[in-house]
Symmetry: none
Subunit: 186 residues, 4 copies
């Protein structure tokens, strides 16, 4: 048996980028397999269908962004505003590259209203993100208000990412971070 031409990680990364760029309905199995350097039939050895692939892509993306972004919020070796700043910088990278956008937001928009079970993992992702951002605000605002601020910041980031995509202008994302830093008080 030949070894796989592509690792699971590489495959998921490339598929995530493709979904992010084209949306769920706009992404064909051809586009996915080509992005992975496989033929369509070979691709099906890795995933039995488009939806189960998407599920894994969402989970993998959650995991990846959890480690490289959300985790920063809990790094007690840095001051809250330093963590927030670092998170903002990393967000800039994660939501750019290949195509501007947030996979979760993109999928939420065009795969919703018909496949509601896809919304659960997306909500979990956003909840996790909100929790991380909230954590930074607890010292200054208390549990309850921090939770609300976290949710608001997630919405702000998603809005900024969407506009960045539409205008082709990544800088819009940083605006959110700066406003949040001011609010936190550096």
């Amino acid at each position: 048996m030949r070894p796989p031409k592509i690792s699971r990680d590489e495959l998921l990364l490339r598929c995530a980028n493709t979904f992010k760029r084209l949306g769920y309905h706009g992404t064909t199995m051809d586009a996915l397999s080509e992005a992975c350097g496989l033929t369509k039939a070979s691709f099906y050895h890795h995933y039995p269908n488009k939806e189960s692939l998407l599920r894994d892509v969402l989970a993998w993306t959650h995991e990846r962004i959890g480690q490289s972004l959300f985790s920063i919020a809990y790094d007690e070796s840095l001051a809250p505003h330093e963590r927030l700043s670092k998170m903002g910088r990393n967000a800039g990278k994660l939501f750019l590259g290949d195509a501007i956008g947030c996979l979760m937001g993109v999928v939420a928009v065009d795969a919703t209203y018909g496949k509601s079970e896809l919304m659960a993992p997306i909500r979990q992702f956003l909840d996790d993100w909100a929790r991380a951002l909230a954590h930074l605000h607890v010292p200054r605002f208390g549990e309850e208000e921090a939770a609300e601020l976290g949710r608001q910041l997630v919405a702000d980031y998603e809005g900024a990412i969407l506009l960045a995509r539409i205008y082709g202008d990544p800088a819009r994302i940083d605006v959110v971070t700066r406003r949040a830093l001011k609010q936190l008080g550096s």
Copy 2:
């Protein structure tokens, strides 16, 4: 000659809602014609293809929201914070109903990256919205800063609408309005 089964306005409204709910790629001509109470073939009597329909739907939506939302910003008989408040209330209605979401945002996400000419009308819509919101902030913040605040508010609203869609919770949109009112100073 036989009377039309549906008026142009009614048709565009229903199609707009369908696109908003299912996205561009997720919307089939069958879905559109059924939404209008027509057969697929009859639908083509009104529009020659899906993309030209979308173009008209976008223009019509811009026009409609321009009149019912953006115009409020220029009603000098109200104080700025009253206008902002009214705009927020109307936004709540316009982006709900049938499906939570902003047509422009939805289309931008799943029809982008391939049909860049569709982005122009979407940007114009967002620019118009930002200009209206900016107008309210000029007295207090001056032209330049107001412009920036307008753009930020649009992003905030879009983010809130997206999260409202994902969580099925329309109240998220009001949060943006309240925050903006505080910023304006009532």
Copy 3:
């Protein structure tokens, strides 16, 4: 009741030209009605369906070409070679104009093998033409050989018309006439 916007003759002429240009399958009811300056629905007041229209178009064309072309062969006031020459000149006109081609040949090619009842009027047309040309050769070649020469000449003309269409070069048709004149002996 309004008077018709178009006479029967004018309608048949325009439809004949359209069929000649686009072929039977390539001609749509839209093309036919537009050629007649009518809407599609109005067109159906004149003819109930495409095939019965074609039947009339073929009959009318036969009649028309019979009078302006075949009849020349029986004009005993001219010498045979003069009649042949005149027929050649008229053919040049009849098979050009609007589109190079012979309606009968065009229809035979793309409406055959499926609607064989359409072939009968086409054969009658060609038989009539062959008879006319044969008539010119009887004095010199006798009944039997003349009949064969008539059939051959029809084939020669049809071939020349086809090539004239393909190369966009009407002159090809005259070559047949000149060769026939030589054969007849002027």
Copy 4:
């Protein structure tokens, strides 16, 4: 990997015959795929659309008839009149079988006037044929007159094939050969 149900050659032959029988507009993708023993979707695995298929069918037909018909003209081991006779016999076979007709002529008639780029390969085919026939007449008539005779003979053959199709009488084609042999002088 699964073996193809049909070879490229077989596919092109069957499609050529189908186009020849039904014309370009009269031939549906269903008819083509059925002729090849494939489903419509499978057919698209071989050719991406109807027009590119036609292009290949024309080129392949040119190639095939070039080898089995035109090449005879250049076989210097036979006397010119023997070559002409042999070409006539082969033509009889090539333009019969499955349906009487010349693919090039059929396509020229019903795919013309709108897709002029399809005419180029058809003209090349006819030019090649004319050149081959001309070659046989050079010894006796000289370059220039031979060229003209070649073109005339092609038109004669096309006319005869058309009439053979209309009357269902293949023998009409041989008449052209006999006349040409007499002209050449045996």
